[in-house]
């Protein structure tokens, strides 16, 4: 996971972020009419510019993006009345597997650079993936913090019931890094399959503490409490997005990516608790 993380973001993300900003500005101000100005560079048909992009856009998105991307999709469709965005939400790994098997997708937004790597390794991404958000870990405890958790040190307490994400999934990989950075050896009772399962355990008060993403703590609402900790900055998980090389509607797909990177898009993501690149 480490190599992927580092390799993924870097230059690409900043480069593209500028790109996106440009697009986002015009979007926000002038609405649909002008939003395709930039697209026109990559697309030959100037006459299409008038009504914005059109057709079906198929976006494969990590399940953790369900809420935010659904909202982004609605906004995008409002700005491009001729376009329809269809999402296929699932575990990033399953989505990667589907894309490799020839799924007719335009855009892939993964929850980890490693899964994106599986796609790029097969030369299925058009251009370099762009990191559009990142997510950081937070300690999560049941409402009222019955076990009195204060920081990462409590995770070494054998008497507490602790849940962590499995190392194989992104939030688990991040957890490992966090504990390395803190020089602690955690004593978990379970390695959960994904963030969602981890959170469920906390929501139901089955565990005393867990590490999840900040976005998830926000989604969970009042049933849990989040506790920030200093080492969280050591393991930021990047979400890359990419246009696919076999995209049936690559022009519109690119438009959607641009929209995600636009200010409007970034606002929605930021409100959900994501760190913006």
């Amino acid at each position: 996971g480490d190599d992927g993380d580092d390799a993924g973001s870097g230059d690409d993300s900043s480069e593209n972020a500028e790109d996106a900003d440009a697009g986002a500005d015009s979007d926000a101000d002038d609405g649909a009419d002008t939003d395709t100005d930039d697209e026109a560079e990559s697309s030959e048909d100037a006459d299409e510019a008038a009504g914005g992009v059109s057709g079906d856009i198929v976006v494969f998105g990590a399940a953790s993006l369900t809420d935010t991307f659904t909202e982004l999709g609605e906004q995008f469709e409002a700005e491009n009345p001729d376009a329809t965005v269809t999402f296929n939400f699932g575990a990033s790994s399953a989505l990667a597997q589907q894309i490799i098997s020839g799924a007719p997708a335009d855009v892939f937004a993964s929850a980890s650079p490693a899964t994106m790597q599986q796609v790029t390794d097969e030369d299925l991404a058009a251009g370099e993936p762009v990191v559009f958000v990142s997510n950081r870990l937070e300690i999560v405890v049941p409402a009222g913090n019955p076990a009195g958790i204060t920081g990462l040190e409590d995770f070494t307490n054998e008497d507490l019931t602790i849940a962590l994400c499995a190392e194989e999934v992104p939030c688990g990989a991040a957890s490992v890094k966090v504990f390395e950075a803190a020089g602690l050896t955690p004593a978990p009772d379970t390695y959960e399959e994904d963030v969602r399962a981890t959170l469920t355990k906390v929501e139901l008060d089955e565990v005393d503490a867990a590490l999840v993403y900040r976005t998830d703590v926000i989604v969970a609402g009042d049933s849990v409490e989040g506790i920030d900790f200093p080492e969280s900055g050591e393991a930021v998980n990047d979400y890359p997005i990419a246009l696919l090389s076999e995209a049936p509607n690559s022009e519109a797909g690119q438009a959607f990516i641009d929209f995600v990177l636009s200010e409007a898009g970034q606002t929605v993501l930021g409100d959900a608790g994501f760190d913006l690149p």
Partner: protein, 270 residues
């Protein structure tokens, strides 16, 4: 032939067995009760009315029914062969059939992609020759469900066929009925309770199928997003909504099963 109808012996259930039976029932029912207690009932109506939910429900029912249909058409003959064939190695074949049960459904979905995907063993030819791409379509949902659910049908029906008295088939043959006719008119009705049990298993499993479906068919609203997928997604954002959706799924399936089984069992029970 005479079977005493108003049975003197009541149901013949040994009282000792009532205790484990009751425990078994509680074991299966109580978790659902736990679920019911946590349900935000007020939201039920609202969720039920949402077009997306109705769409998922319709898709779930349609695809589970189709999958069950496919399983019946392919699975009953297969069960028959397994129950009757005396060729060596049949035992291995029988064990192979249980594999899709053991296979984690997600892996099953991957296997289906490897077979029928656009780059799959068979899928690539379907795509090249007919431009046909199965994954991410409603037929893919049906295929995924059928793949996962068929072994249930096959094994249940095979058990029933083994228990059936083959001499009735002999009797049918002496009346001039070929194998096919005998199969349709004698064997099938005789094992109807077993087939009905198998079909119920199959239907229920298809209705609840998640892993293979999301992997092989994807999760597109209106096309491949069945109720279990909707429940999964809701779980990501709003666990209470997920529980409500799961309950909707349960209610509908109880309704379907009560009505179906009622009909199947009448007239075939001895």
């Amino acid at each position: 032939m005479t079977s005493p109808e108003p049975r003197g012996r009541g149901t013949g259930i040994p009282p000792v067995l009532l205790v484990p039976a009751a425990l078994g029932l509680l074991f299966l029912i109580l978790p659902l009760v736990g679920l019911l207690l946590r349900t935000p009932w007020a939201d039920l109506g609202e969720h039920l009315g949402r077009p997306a939910v109705l769409e998922a429900l319709r898709l779930s029912l349609v695809s589970a029914v189709l999958a069950t249909g496919i399983c019946l058409v392919l699975g009953v003959p297969l069960a028959w062969v397994l129950a009757r064939a005396t060729i060596p190695g049949i035992r291995l074949v029988r064990a192979l059939l249980t594999l899709p049960l053991v296979l984690p459904p997600v892996v099953g979905g991957v296997a289906l992609l490897l077979l029928l995907g656009r780059r799959g063993l068979i899928g690539q030819h379907l795509y090249e020759w007919f431009g046909l791409s199965l994954p991410f379509t409603t037929p893919a949902v049906v295929i995924a469900e059928a793949f996962v659910a068929m072994p249930f049908l096959v094994i249940a029906v095979e058990g029933a066929l083994r228990g059936a008295d083959r001499r009735y088939e002999d009797a049918a043959a002496t009346l001039g009925a070929g194998r096919w006719l005998t199969f349709r008119r004698v064997t099938l009705p005789l094992v109807a309770p077993g087939i009905s049990a198998g079909a119920v298993l199959c239907f229920a499993r298809a209705l609840g199928e998640f892993g293979a479906t999301i992997t092989f068919a994807g999760n597109f609203p209106g096309v491949t997003r069945t109720m279990p997928l909707a429940v999964y997604l809701a779980l990501e954002t709003d666990p209470e909504a997920a529980i409500v959706l799961a309950l909707v799924l349960l209610l509908v399936s109880v309704a379907v099963l009560v009505s179906l089984r009622g009909r199947w069992i009448t007239g075939t029970s001895s």
